[in-house]
Symmetry: D2
Subunit: 308 residues, 4 copies
């Protein structure tokens, strides 16, 4: 008897995260299971309740989704196996038939408000904005009569019996990056256009230590895609770093850089190597191809063995 | 007739930000004016409605307060003139007489919940948590009967006629860093134990560019306190950096580093030099004292003039 | 009554150095005064006996002329005001009428022998080579019957009544770089295609110190032309460095790099800025033009003054 | 039947190089064979005529012995198996009975003269100095009546029937570093206090390339003992580098640094790993011990295999 895989996501139904889950190649064949928070969704993977979880990682407007980052960095280990980019456009959802001049309160997740602020100021200057735990939750509360309008994806309307009063009201074209995480295992196979994610901490906080960490990458020709600093929680001024770099852990230059970090940093967690959603091929600097690493290793073995 | 200075803060009355404002040396002599958001509080300074604004910048547990950072980086320029560190401890506030087993819902700003999660899980395993725009706002809604409990500073209780059912319920000792901002002007006088804040962007996003930016500091012996990457909002993968470094813009090594950034980065905004709240004196590397910079400048002038 | 300037050179008459002196624009109008050694020629400038001295600095085949380098680094200060490149081709000089099979001994300065070794091995396999203090001195000794042949410039033949038995016998096309030195003064005016020479020592010999010195140049976009390490003479393993870099001390990027060295090295001697003999224009990296340095300085002044 | 090993050295008998050869542990049991030049001595090893050659590499006063360096860098490969340091003190050798006021000419290798210059100036102000191919050769010529005095080691006197007129006449305490070279083979076993010698060239002469080469060492905590730039002979301004670094090729940090050079430089020649004569133990930076390299390699294998 076949088993339908279960994928956890930040619910309730109707969130952008659910839309991301459904946009996966396997999206139509899995059971999408809503959880009230990112930690809860990740825990469902850890306990084996779900095979995978989908979570927002980063917004091109709002930046890092710190709940996701901190949970990957500090919780029981998980592994990123895929990323995807989704355009994020907001609509104003209301109870069917509500005229715009009756929209006195609008609710949304705090991330949504700044992205629609210009439209709101122009079209609804007197309306009060209120926070909700998620945009879908805002929609639910609109249905229940708590608020008059919700900022959410247009696709959320149907689920809560609402109607789209205005679509595409975001001030800027935004994208959100989502990741699919599973329990740790062998990384996904290299495709030649991959990305690797890690978290790394300073060892003793000496001056220039961050630069030394970056040099482990730069010295081997590994370009960084992104670096986020996050508090360790121990004390003000103590940080760890969340880093995405070009390449796959199976590649020599990436492997040697990670070994350098392993030797020279306070804590290092490998979070996965996976295909890049933007398909941007790396520019591999002369001297850092896999073939050159292998040739250099052979040369060293010959030197050590006296066989030159 | 004397004028009482007005200081803006993120209201309503009873927030940690108000507590920070009152903890300032001049706290007792200014009029504290609440605003509904950090941008609104900063705009009050920009328009001249208030002399200064107080805002949370960073939490030792939750990290950057991105609303403050982004507003300093992108809005009409302002200048940081002071920072202060405040321990943040949460209490559970309820309507007087409420027994703990009647607390079915607890509300707070999203930052508060993870800091009290362990206590909540242990003491109130079945209670539902809800978001509020601020902890003070949560307290207000407890007073109004919307929620049963609020996570907030104990000092908030009095303002809303609530009582402290449990104090010091945070899982870890947390600190929040607040800044006082004014309209731009001459930086505050150096004290010898200062910090400088800037935002800086990449010029053309070439490999290693972030490391070159850090090298402008390191090469002149200027230690970094903190670096945050934030999206520029233009596209996924485009960031700017918010940096706090040791030292004062009047110091030679800091001045030369900033000049290097001015030449070699895409955008640079000076956000202020101000006394360090933690009073941690900088370790100035040999070769980077002001006296050595001045001596080197004199030497160069002699070389150029042929007067050695 | 007009005065003819006197230029010192490594004699006797007939050396390549004299040929370099004569190749100077002013070569025809100065009195060329031979000295027995580079230190003696330089001392003649120091005492005022001569206006200038010409000395070989570097050979494209033999490398640094250490006598010149050490004398510039350690002796009473002098200043390089010009460099020139001369092709160096050797001829075999003999007493008139000598047949090649009568050439049993050949003498030259030690620098000449390796440059003609292939020719000597092929044409004069049984001939013995002997050192002489200079090639011209070898020619003199051939004239006096001490040796049978001399390796020297063809132009040397006439001065000693010798004949050119074979011309162009060098194995490779070699060039020698000569410098003209004067007493210290205001550097020559920038031409846009200049070079700057310095000597610099380590301050405390800590690991990576040489790299930090190079970073003073690299961080400001100043390319190195050449670096020589020379013993300080204090102990085995203690070195100072002789460096030629692109650009003129009047240029901002060079000036700031030199100031950095002045602050961060053990000893620094400016040896001159002068036009490049090879006319190879520098590639000035964006962010390091004089205009950008000036703009950055103005910006910093505005920041410090509160005038942005 | 036992075979006496033959060791080549720069002759004639009585040179400092011969003294170095005799100072070797095996010095008393080998046949010392003089050769007229360093290349000739090295060729004797290459052809198998001798088992090893001893050559001066560097003087604490005069710097690199370029003949040795260039021959190691460019000739048929050889391997350094040992180094030793010898104090070098000069004596003035004369024919027995010669009074000091009869010393009108003094000869020596050009390296000797500057080391005795102060003594010569004070004691023999009117004496003329002449070059000789070696100090021993100068002694021979004194014996033959060509010169009156020779600057050489006191031990040279006996060989040429001369007497020491003045001993210890060097201005400074000098040391010379000698190396023993053999045909290439397996490097000598690590002792924990070793040194590794290489030559390395730039790949394409781009700005900052030398610094990148140095970074291959620095990034792995390998300290440099010495760097010499030497002309490639191709054109003025083209150099290769002779580098001595701390550590043994068998050590992980050295091996990885050499692999980095192999990938990122134009030409790399391994010249040997051998015990340091000065017994100065390396300071191995945390994160760069062999154990840490091994642990990092195991960790990477686990990550790649999915076995964390």
């Amino acid at each position: 008897m076949s088993h339908t895989p279960r994928y956890a996501f930040l619910g309730p139904s109707g969130t952008f995260t659910e839309a991301a889950l459904l946009a996966l190649p396997e999206g139509g064949e899995v059971e999408a299971v809503p959880y009230p928070s990112v930690p809860a969704a990740f825990d469902a993977v850890r306990t084996g309740e779900c095979e995978a979880a989908v979570a927002a990682m980063e917004s091109s407007v709002e930046g890092a989704v710190t709940a996701t980052i901190d949970e990957l960095a500090n919780g029981e280990p998980l592994m990123i196996v895929r990323e995807l980019l989704l355009p994020v456009t907001f609509a104003l959802l209301v109870r069917p038939g509500t005229p715009i001049d009756q929209v006195k309160t609008v609710a949304s997740h705090p991330v949504a408000e700044p992205q629609c602020r210009r439209w709101l100021t122009r079209q609804l200057p007197d309306t009060r904005w209120e926070t909700a735990a998620s945009n879908a939750d805002a929609a639910r509360q609109v249905r229940d009569g708590v608020f008059d309008g919700a900022l959410a994806g247009a696709f959320t309307a149907a689920r809560y019996g609402l109607e789209v009063l205005a679509d595409d009201i975001s001030d800027t074209a935004a994208q959100t990056r989502f990741v699919v995480v599973t329990r740790p295992g062998r990384p996904t196979a290299p495709t030649g256009v991959d990305k690797t994610s890690i978290t790394v901490g300073l060892r003793d906080n000496h001056p220039g230590e961050l630069m030394e960490i970056l040099e482990e990458f730069a010295g081997r020709g590994v370009n960084l895609c992104r670096i986020e600093s996050r508090p360790t929680g121990e004390a003000m001024g103590k940080y760890y770093f969340f880093i995405d770099c070009e390449g796959h852990v199976e590649e020599e230059r990436v492997g040697e850089a990670l070994q350098g970090l392993r030797r020279n940093s306070g804590r290092l967690r490998f979070l996965g190597s996976y295909p890049r959603a933007d398909r941007q091929a790396p520019s591999i600097r002369p001297g850092t191809t896999d073939a050159e690493f292998v040739e250099a290793r052979d040369w060293l073995a010959d030197v050590r063995g006296g066989n030159r």
